[in-house]
């Protein structure tokens, strides 16, 4: 067990009726690093995030955040853990009866004692960081999908969380828009220095952001490696995934000598 790991999933299994989706997931998330969970659609990648967030309880196994099992912890303890979390949901999950401004301001209003002026300044700063100036008074239904994700990101980051979860941050966006999200991600992580967990199937682009890449296949994390090691892994499942998503990789050492 690594002392640095902030989050550990130990043999997590999740069963829905007769179907077992997670079949013993073991995963460590390290502090200050970006861990990307990849895998084909329908493998249960988002489920992993939901288990770490405590939104779902595993059928068996443990999820430890900072050494505490979030399924046996008190509600208060869970709240304290979640106070360090920022989450960007797959569909952004913005509060649709509130404006963009109110959405981003909500964590500040409910969780801090900030004055109205401080809130306004902080929200304006976040919106600028996300290239969303001038959209504050709009409602989520009035903005595009990419903007929604950026608002979701602004809301997730407004309280300077220690760990940020991204559930498919670029799904459904075109290449330009997804590059924009990656840029924003890169900018904010450099600035705020959070640990991040990204669920994505945007391979290979996502490798550029990753410190570690974990492949979920058949309900098990096959391996969690650096992007370079991942791409040259000998594990047949990883090899197949890499070849399927990135094409055959030319490796001079192996092929020529």
């Amino acid at each position: 067990m690594n002392a640095q790991s902030m989050i550990q999933m130990i043999d997590v299994r999740k069963r829905f009726g007769a179907q077992e989706v997670l079949k013993g997931v073991n995963l460590s998330i390290f502090e200050g690093k970006t861990t990307v969970i990849v895998g084909e659609s329908g493998q249960g990648k988002s489920l992993i995030i939901k288990h770490i967030l405590g939104l779902m309880k595993p059928t068996s196994g443990k999820v430890l955040v900072n050494g505490k099992d979030i399924n046996t912890i008190s509600r208060k303890g869970l709240k304290e853990i979640r106070a360090n979390f920022g989450v960007l949901f797959q569909h952004a999950a913005l509060f649709d009866s509130m404006t963009v401004f109110e959405n981003v301001a909500l964590p500040l209003r409910e969780r801090t004692k900030a004055s109205e002026e401080e809130i306004r300044n902080k929200v304006a700063e976040m919106l600028t960081l996300m290239d969303l100036e001038g959209s504050g008074e709009k409602y989520p239904a009035q903005i595009s999908g990419g903007m929604k994700k950026r608002v979701g990101l602004a809301r997730a980051l407004v309280l300077n969380p220690k760990i940020v979860f991204f559930d498919e941050p670029t799904t459904g966006l075109d290449i330009a828009k997804s590059n924009e999200i990656y840029r924003v991600f890169f900018r904010t992580q450099t600035k705020l220095g959070y640990t991040s967990v990204i669920v994505s199937h945007d391979v290979p682009k996502i490798f550029k952001l990753a410190d570690y890449v974990a492949l979920l296949y058949n309900g098990v994390i096959q391996d969690c490696l650096s992007p370079e090691d991942f791409q040259t892994s000998e594990n047949p499942v990883i090899r197949e995934f890499v070849e399927k998503t990135m094409g055959h990789i030319y490796e001079s050492e192996r092929m020529e000598g």
Binding site: L55, V87, F89, L106, P107, E110
Partner: protein, 263 residues
């Protein structure tokens, strides 16, 4: 045979489970209402506006017609015995003890209860409630507590409005239209309505207020756990219908229970 047993067992478990989680839900909300830091007063005022103020029109309307029809029926029946003078107390007592709380609660269920259920149900299926929880904002405190307080404050007040307007409607029909004696109308009312009647009506309206917001909010909150499949717009519409039906039936059952206890 085994299949029947299976189904019965499954249904029983489901309903026991549902009853249990609704109980826990209520306990959490009550706990969060009491616990510091308090909910924001601006949220409560907004909910009082939605549940209370916006229901005033429909309450006035139904109240007036209920009082009017009571006077009409009462006058025709009482005149057979030559006791039209009692029309005031008949109208006032029926409204204050029974019809006011029940009908006002049914109207609030239809107008505000369904809205509460649908709103929370949509928040649930679009992950907004998950988002709140992940922001370490307790939905019981942030969403539910203001709604519960607003319902507990609004329903008794709406019932009072219903009663007053109903009595006035009864007065118009009984005295002005049918020609009952005005003095007798009010004297019989003052003489026969006691404090116990008013407190019975008040207790009922508070209980009904709690019942409406509890059932409607909990149904919406647990839309994803519905047995018939709580997914998407259809799941929300189904759960809203069942919340309104369950609230309405429960109001009538609870009405009988409270009446039998207090009479």
């Amino acid at each position: 045979m085994i299949r029947i047993l299976n189904t019965v067992g499954e249904l029983t478990l489901y309903y026991v489970n549902q009853a249990g989680r609704m109980g826990i839900f209520l306990a959490f909300v009550v706990f969060n209402i009491i616990k510091l830091p308090y909910y924001k007063i601006s949220h409560v005022i907004k909910q009082i506006y939605i549940i209370g103020t916006l229901s005033v029109f429909v309450i006035v309307f139904t109240g007036a017609f209920t009082g009017m029809v009571l006077a009409l029926q009462g006058y025709n029946t009482l005149s057979k015995f030559g006791s039209e003078g009692l029309i005031g107390s008949v109208v006032a007592l029926s409204l204050i003890r029974e019809l006011g709380p029940v009908l006002a609660a049914l109207m609030v269920t239809g107008r505000a209860g369904s809205a509460i259920c649908a709103e929370i149900g949509i928040m649930r299926i679009s992950e907004q409630i998950d988002a709140l929880e992940c922001m370490a904002i307790d939905p019981h405190k942030y969403i539910m507590a203001p709604k519960f307080i607003a319902a507990l404050a609004s329903v008794p007040l709406l019932t009072a409005v219903f009663n007053v307007v109903g009595i006035f409607g009864g007065y118009i029909v009984g005295v002005k239209l049918m020609g009952a004696n005005e003095g007798a109308f009010f004297t019989s009312m003052y003489r026969d309505v006691e404090f116990a009647d008013i407190s019975m009506g008040f207790i009922k309206s508070v209980c009904f207020g709690l019942l409406i917001v509890w059932i409607c909010a909990a149904k919406g909150y647990y839309v994803h756990m519905e047995r018939s499949g709580g997914f998407g717009a259809e799941g929300v519409s189904r759960v809203t219908t069942s919340a309104v039906v369950l609230s309405s039936v429960s109001i009538l059952v609870l009405d009988y229970i409270i009446t039998s206890l207090l009479i």
